[in-house]
């Protein structure tokens, strides 16, 4: 019996903060009222809670400095403005990277350079063929017309992919259409790679820089929404 009374007192004691704050439903409030009427210890408990409640209520309520909102406004809304221009910055970066890539590729022309010399200028043209790896399927890459007095010719294969091994063959064609086929030469897999990589990385870096610049360009502030 004593134990159950103790449990009941403990449960009612837990209700006292809500009682003080006026948050209890009517039924529980009546229970607490009845307890307070019947038990002197209950009154002591209530006074103890009230002392603490009064002390807490008596504390000065601090207002956060306005600088917090200003900083928050900058971080939240400024980021939104920047997020709005991300598509434009992406487009600008991509465009500059593409233009740079094309210009550098056309200027530097990374690829496999073929060179050959001839003993006479009796041939009318030279046809350049390429086969992939060890296959025998030669594909015509291009044709160069012979030039009077020219003994040295070059052809640049800019379409070679890095890491691939190619076999080249040059075919000399006489004015009457007879073909004279050269020896086959093989290119190394990484022959064109350094030049190609340099161009790709340069284009990429310029593109990223352009994207960052455009992204930071639009820093227009939104209207101030300072709470009062």
């Amino acid at each position: 019996m004593a134990a159950s009374n103790k449990d009941r007192d403990e449960e009612l004691n837990y209700l006292l903060p809500g009682y003080i704050n006026g948050q209890l439903p009517p039924e529980q409030r009546q229970q607490v009222d009845a307890w307070l009427d019947s038990s002197p210890q209950a009154g002591e408990q209530l006074r103890s809670w009230q002392q603490i409640h009064t002390a807490l209520q008596g504390r000065p309520v601090r207002t956060p400095p306005s600088g917090i909102w200003l900083a928050l406004e900058r971080r939240v809304f400024h980021n939104d403005v920047r997020r709005g221009s991300s598509a434009a910055s992406l487009l600008a970066g991509f465009a500059l990277a593409a233009i740079t890539l094309v210009l550098l590729w056309l200027t530097i022309r990374p690829g496999v350079l073929l060179q050959w010399t001839v003993n006479s200028d009796s041939l009318a043209a030279y046809r350049i063929y390429r086969a992939h790896g060890d296959s025998q399927e030669f594909v015509l890459l291009g044709e160069i017309d012979s030039k009077p007095g020219e003994m040295r010719y070059t052809y640049l294969d800019v379409l070679s992919l890095p890491g691939q091994r190619y076999i080249y063959q040059v075919e000399g064609v006489t004015p009457s259409g007879v073909s004279i086929v050269s020896q086959r030469v093989a290119s190394q897999p990484l022959t064109a790679l350094p030049g190609q990589l340099a161009i790709l990385i340069s284009s990429l870096v310029l593109g990223i820089l352009a994207a960052i610049m455009v992204r930071n360009w639009d820093t227009a502030r939104l209207p101030r929404l300072l709470p009062t």
Binding site: N21, P64, L72, V76, L225
Partner: protein, 204 residues
């Protein structure tokens, strides 16, 4: 239409928004924040920045840290408003974010907070229960000596008028734990008041 007219139009629209938002319920406000409404975010800040700031200040006992944490709390609200599902009251949800930020800050600071109230009881300038303002000061000093967990539980229930269930949601712990923390905190504070009264009697 010149710039001045545009500005005046904007100010009128903003004023209308503020009046409209002032009457919007908390849950609707969070929904608008999730939809990236700057005005709703500003209104939310108007409503909750002061109670959250005071709650943080009470937990970390450091003005600058509380200011930084308040900023982080609202930044988290801005980013996470879309995750609010309405299971808890908005006030509970916000206080939970603030509590987690404060606990994380205290862990980083690695501050050891003790429950020992004897130092305050023996401290000079605690003349006992001679008047309410002094007694209040003793209670507040004693409160600051509690662990953040006990202090938070007591304040949420007694000062911020939350039920034990709401306080448990803020503190992310069972209701029974909140009850025992509140009860422990009250007993400690009561012991402090008693000890200071006793020391005053001894002196006179």
């Amino acid at each position: 239409m010149n710039q001045e007219t545009l500005t005046n139009d904007y100010k009128r629209e903003e004023a209308v928004d503020e009046v409209r938002l002032a009457s919007v319920a908390d849950r609707e406000l969070i929904r608008l924040v999730a939809a990236r409404s700057h005005e709703a975010f500003a209104e939310l800040y108007r409503r909750f920045s002061a109670p959250l700031f005071n709650f943080l200040l009470s937990l970390v006992s450091d003005q600058h840290a509380a200011e930084d944490l308040l900023q982080e709390v609202f930044l988290a609200i801005w980013k996470g408003a879309g995750h609010y599902r309405g299971a808890a009251a908005v006030k509970t949800w916000l206080f939970n974010i603030a509590y987690k930020q404060a606990v994380s800050h205290l862990r980083r600071r690695k501050e050891v907070l003790v429950d020992d109230l004897d130092q305050i009881a023996a401290a000079p300038g605690s003349p006992g229960l001679s008047g309410d303002p002094i007694q209040n000061r003793i209670i507040i000093q004693a409160l600051e000596r509690l662990t953040p967990q006990h202090r938070a539980a007591l304040e949420l229930v007694l000062y911020y008028k939350m039920s034990y269930r709401e306080a448990a949601e803020v503190l992310a712990c069972p209701v029974g734990t909140v009850k025992s923390r509140v009860s422990y905190a009250r007993r400690q504070l009561q012991a402090m008041i008693h000890a200071s009264g006793q020391s005053a009697e001894d002196r006179y």
